[in-house]
């Protein structure tokens, strides 16, 4: 026991000894410390955080200055939720205690809804004449929600983005007195697209998209379109990691802007060394009916690169020869000729 205590004390004393020499500055060698040092030295190099990055984060910070601090927003949301819940509970208790009101019945059963004959008989006796039918209030987001009720939230719908993009080119219409949530959302998104495509300011576009997310959250009717715009802005800013993270979550189609997103995702996956996943994307773009457009050109060269990196020299060569046959003056034509030695 005494021996073990003495040993512990010695260990404690050893562990408190200052370390003077860093592994990362040791010369290369075969010792464990030298190997660890070499690894740590390589990992210590980080990409620079330059003026462009600083300006972009500053813009994002400024864009949130108009909003309530998160803490207060949460407290208000919780208070409103509790109030609504309390009100509903109070109404339910009252309803149970007093029994159903005969005046409430016609409102609960819409005129056109089929009602069992027995129930109709009962109601027609006690119900007052139906209230006059008013023109219904417009639903906030009928178009978007009705199209694909079961599609994943991130699925891209090209037509809506295109219309938003077109809208950004035209002067915005005069705001209505009480704009719906969809109108507000659409105006914000159109502004972001305008910043991105007309003013070529992806940083500001991203700030507006942050504002969109802060106001409407992931449940916004135009969230998929906002997401695609965000990816475009991130790509223009060179923030490939973040763009790829978003693209990984998208269910992309091979139509319209979906094709461009798909080829961008494939290239980013290849860049990050995720070549098998990249190859899948490239393959889906290069189906037999694929048009001979810029996307196909990029996909063909990208697939050749991937195949070469995965050790499939014959496949890579076939793709490069196919590339030169289809796009002899394409932007990768010189590299393709060099690679296959033509």
């Amino acid at each position: 026991m005494k021996e073990s205590t003495a040993k512990d004390r010695q260990t404690d004393a050893d562990e408190r000894t200052p370390i003077r020499e860093r592994w990362s500055v040791q010369p290369s060698g075969d010792s464990d410390e030298a190997l660890a040092g070499a690894l740590l030295r390589a990992a210590a190099t980080v990409p620079p955080f330059g003026p462009k990055n600083l300006a972009e984060v500053a813009a994002r910070l400024r864009s949130r200055e108009r909003h309530l601090p998160r803490k207060w927003a949460w407290q208000i949301a919780v208070a409103v939720g509790l109030l609504l819940f309390g009100g509903a509970l109070y109404a339910a208790v009252l309803h149970i205690l007093r029994g159903p009101s005969p005046r409430a019945l016609p409102a609960a059963v819409p005129v056109s809804m089929p009602v069992r004959a027995s129930a109709r008989r009962t109601h027609t006796v006690v119900a007052p004449p139906p209230a006059p039918v008013l023109s219904p209030e417009p639903e906030p987001s009928p178009i978007v929600r009705a199209e694909e009720p079961h599609a994943p939230r991130l699925a891209y719908r090209g037509a809506t983005l295109e219309s938003a993009a077109r809208a950004s080119l035209e002067p915005p219409p005069a705001p209505p007195d009480n704009p719906s949530a969809l109108a507000q959302e659409s105006r914000l998104l159109a502004g972001a697209i305008h910043k991105l495509r007309q003013e070529h300011d992806p940083g500001q576009a991203l700030a507006m998209l942050d504002e969109h997310r802060a106001r409407f959250g992931a449940k916004g009717a135009l969230e998929p379109e906002a997401n695609v715009t965000r990816i475009e802005a991130l790509l223009r800013l060179g923030r490939h990691d973040r763009a790829l993270g978003l693209l990984d979550g998208l269910a992309l189609t091979r139509e319209g802007v979906g094709r461009e997103m798909l080829v961008a995702r494939a290239e980013l996956r290849a860049e990050k060394g995720r070549r098998a996943a990249a190859l899948n994307d490239f393959n889906s773009l290069l189906s037999a009916d694929a048009p001979a457009d810029v996307v196909s050109e990029r996909a063909l060269y990208g697939r050749a690169t991937c195949r070469a990196q995965m050790g499939d020299g014959a496949g890579a060569r076939a793709d490069l020869e196919n590339y030169l046959a289809r796009f002899p003056t394409g932007r990768f034509a010189d590299q393709a000729r060099t690679l296959i030695g033509k």
Partner: protein, 189 residues
């Protein structure tokens, strides 16, 4: 690529009084970005982390009384934000990227990418894979000592630990790092 210790690093001594957000951002954002990149590893988006850090800074700046140095205060926020980001990243990888990591392990040689960049990225991934297996307190001290090249005293100031504790953590972190490095290398053979 930046050098190991950037020239943009402000001195650890900070003027007394409570600075405003603009000043703090202008003076310390590059330092925060470097800490965030080194604490969180190569798979994170540094801009997002810096943004998160300064959102916290803005929220808490009115409560900052200058009892601690600004750098110490900022470092602790960055450490927490980076830790949270790593936690989320672990979940994300667990759900969706486990297969990708397997694919990356079996990659052929990248003769169409610059070899040094590829090697550097591989080394960084190895280092952070090993660091992820270390307890946070050991991991951070090791990062500050080996990558940030801070002295024991500077680490103590930044983290608020006693100097003796810094050395204890560093000794243990080094021992664990070597052990995990060997285990990692065995696993990959």
């Amino acid at each position: 690529m930046t050098s190991v210790r950037s020239d943009a690093t402000p001195a650890l001594e900070v003027a007394p009084g409570v600075p405003d957000l603009e000043t703090v951002y202008r003076s310390y954002a590059p330092t925060v970005a470097r800490w965030a990149a080194r604490l969180a590893g190569p798979l994170v988006d540094v801009e997002d982390l810096v943004h998160e850090v300064f959102l916290v800074v803005r929220r808490r700046l009115p409560e900052f009384r200058g009892d601690a140095k600004v750098t110490t205060w900022l470092y602790r926020i960055t450490e927490r934000v980076a830790q949270e980001s790593r936690r989320k990243d672990r979940f994300r990888r667990w759900f969706s990227r486990a297969r990708q990591l397997e694919i990356e392990r079996t990659m052929a040689s990248p003769h169409l990418t610059p070899v040094d960049d590829f090697e550097r990225r591989q080394s960084a991934e190895t280092v952070y894979r090993i660091l992820d297996r270390l307890p946070g307190k050991y991991r951070n001290v090791l990062v500050l000592f080996e990558m940030e090249e801070l002295s024991g005293e500077e680490i103590a100031t930044l983290t608020g630990l006693k100097l003796a504790t810094v050395w204890v953590h560093l000794h243990r972190a080094r021992a664990r790092f070597i052990a995990e490095m060997k285990r990692d290398s065995e696993k990959r053979k």
